[in-house]
Symmetry: C2
Subunit: 416 residues, 2 copies
């Protein structure tokens, strides 16, 4: 019999309690032991909680109870969740979390603590909600050298982009609707500025490349500047715009970015719509494999947490010693050094002059026809592959030229 | 140090040897021990094999060598592979295989033997090539009751259908090209008649529902009767035609089929093209999750085999006791009892009469406009949801009516 404590009875925490109860029989079969939630720690009152008798506000009821061997941390954030995780690990309790912020920030320390205390620290639910991605990276693709990860990692922004693309809503309208439907929070900053996706690609990359990737070093750009005009030109060029978290390993160096990107419609990520997430992993043996599903939500996320609990129960004597080494060198390259093609949209004062200027500065480019927008005098093209820093410099120069009014769009183009 | 023997040095077997050598460092790190191939058993001669010194034609070199703890069976078929697998398990060696035919036929016996001898019998590579699907079903989705699996499980047929759909080639031309490109075998029966997909959906369903699903009881239909006209009507109705392996669990009973099916273009499987495979798993907590990648090929399949080897090394003292119970009741329902919509294409002698007849017999149907094919006098529609047996009976009746020349198309429509 395994006793679990759930810390934080919010959306995910209550989902975990529900799933463990609902599927107790099959979960016990798979784990080889019966699993019960013994305590739920939360400072709030829950009058109509069906498991009222399990609730406590006193953390001693969890940490001083030696019969509780597994702690599920679904509090979130880096404050009390961090303290509780350290306490649990130091007391020899396995910890399962959905807390991407904590893992992305303190992952190396917490994994080390877990190894030192011979317990597990698992966080499948921290990326991709219910989608199995962390365990596949660790186990199923273990025969591969992983050289790239590309993902739609944030459901809120993907919902907004789908609404813009499908119904021609502008960003602000789509955001407001996402908030009204519960897909975006009152303060949507972490989603729409790409911070959430950034933490997730940092976690996935740390696992894939087996060294800690600090999310603070990842070049991150959100979707707030995207316009329907950009969506329109993406469509014309056979692409869609998605918020993409991406990392690649080239000659031992890692390039990582979060930004909107043009994706060709034939790319498997192009068809990932609404709040769904998907992650493409590139391995040297398997080629590209994609994992797709609901990136958030009560039960999908709980499904991932409970899978971790079952895994811990099955392998409780063998913690796997999963450690993220911290590379003291600059292991993440400056994104300015990455060679990429960019979509560039210019509002011009003098079209002919601007076109000549682009040809001189950028050489061979792929022009995207802008006829139907002539009123605005736009000039739109996709550049040749070049280091991002060089392109950015050229674009800045363009902007200072009298024939050009404004650089209205500048978006990465995903190669493959 | 772990010593592995590889039985059968064909495409997959040689890939396994290659991957273990190539990624030895990272594989050892992940497994916690160094892994070496000690013997390769094959009756054939391989003059330019880079690992010539490991080759043997004598199975005693494998089975009587106690230092070999893991046997990789990549022979295929149900003959010698079956005997070797039993010998290896009975001698306390873990067995890893890519042999779907053997697993689908003798899975319950071999899993039982493995459990009795306290060793593992793993077969991730038997379904979906390199795609991680069996381990995710067993572990990552362990918190879920799985109620449905829907997949594109055969790369050869998916390549043929993609060629027909994209370039308007007819079935025979596309098949010949697939053979010329090495995507289809000289005798393509197992692929194009759906037998390969049938074994795969049987294996996936056995894992998902935790009881043996006998592939011989699964209603199976291939793609040989599909025409470009069917593809055309699928397109008009916003769908594509794919060869789909599907099983559902409804009230404890299992429905399983392999057949071509109309899939709405918004379905995540609709965009799976060429030789790629993808599997959608429906769980009660996670909702739908999809796993996508290369369903065949030397290195992708080897990637899955070697992941199993690593898993065995990591958990060699804990075999998981994975057993498929054999349900003596009829656990697989007759497909005739499944309620489904069908696409029906009629060649008619008298259009008006035929239309009236369809209305009388089928009630409300969705007509698909057939204007551009008037020369052939076709009448095309999608039926209401009804038990398949009832629909088949009605269609038979239709065919006997004088106003109808022939029932030229009859294809399942995937609900969601």
């Amino acid at each position: 019999m395994i006793f679990v404590a759930v810390l934080g009875y919010g959306v995910v925490g209550s989902g975990v309690v529900e799933v463990i109860k609902k599927n107790r029989l099959s979960i016990s079969q798979r784990a080889g032991e019966e699993i019960y939630v013994k305590k739920i720690l939360d400072i709030r009152d829950f009058d109509d909680c069906p498991d009222k008798e399990l609730l406590t506000k006193n953390s001693d009821d969890v940490f001083n109870d030696d019969s509780i061997s597994v702690v599920v941390e679904t509090i979130g954030g880096k404050g009390i969740a961090y303290e509780f995780t350290k306490t649990a690990l130091s007391k020899g309790k396995h910890v399962i979390t959905s807390n991407k912020e904590l893992v992305a920030t303190h992952g190396p320390e917490l994994l080390r603590m877990a190894a030192d205390n011979n317990v597990h620290y698992h966080f499948e639910a921290s990326v991709g909600g219910g989608i199995p991605i962390i365990r596949p990276l660790n186990n199923c693709l273990a025969a591969n050298e992983i050289n790239g990860i590309t993902g739609i990692l944030n459901g809120t922004t993907n919902y907004i982009l789908t609404q813009m693309n499908r119904y021609g809503k502008d960003f602000n309208t789509a955001l407001k609707e996402a908030q009204a439907n519960g897909y975006a929070e009152a303060d949507p900053t972490a989603d729409i500025e790409g911070h959430d996706a950034c933490r997730k690609i940092a976690i996935l990359s740390s696992i894939a490349y087996n060294e800690y990737i600090d999310y603070r070093k990842i070049s991150t750009e959100g979707i707030t500047k995207l316009t329907l005009a950009d969506m329109h030109y993406a469509e014309i060029s056979g692409s869609v715009i998605k918020l993409i978290g991406r990392s690649e390993r080239v000659d031992g160096k890692i390039y990582a970015t979060v930004s909107p990107a043009f994706i060709n419609k034939s790319h498997p990520l192009a068809n990932v719509e609404d709040v769904f997430n998907a992650i493409v992993v590139r391995g040297d043996a398997i080629g590209d494999a994609m994992f797709y599903g609901r990136g958030a939500g009560k039960l999908p996320t709980a499904s991932a947490v409970v899978a971790d609990v079952i895994d811990v129960v099955k392998h409780k004597d063998n913690n796997g010693k999963n450690i993220w080494t911290i590379n003291t060198d600059e292991n993440i390259m400056d994104a300015d050094l990455m060679e990429t093609r960019f979509y560039i949209r210019l509002e011009v004062k003098n079209r002919d002059e601007a076109e000549e200027l682009v040809k001189t500065m950028f050489g061979q480019v792929d022009w995207i026809p802008s006829e139907i927008k002539v009123a605005k005098e736009e000039l739109v093209f996709i550049s040749e592959k070049e280091a991002e820093g060089v392109l950015r410099k050229k674009v800045k120069e363009l902007a200072h030229n009298s024939c050009i009014k404004e650089v209205a769009g500048f978006i990465r183009v995903l190669e493959d």
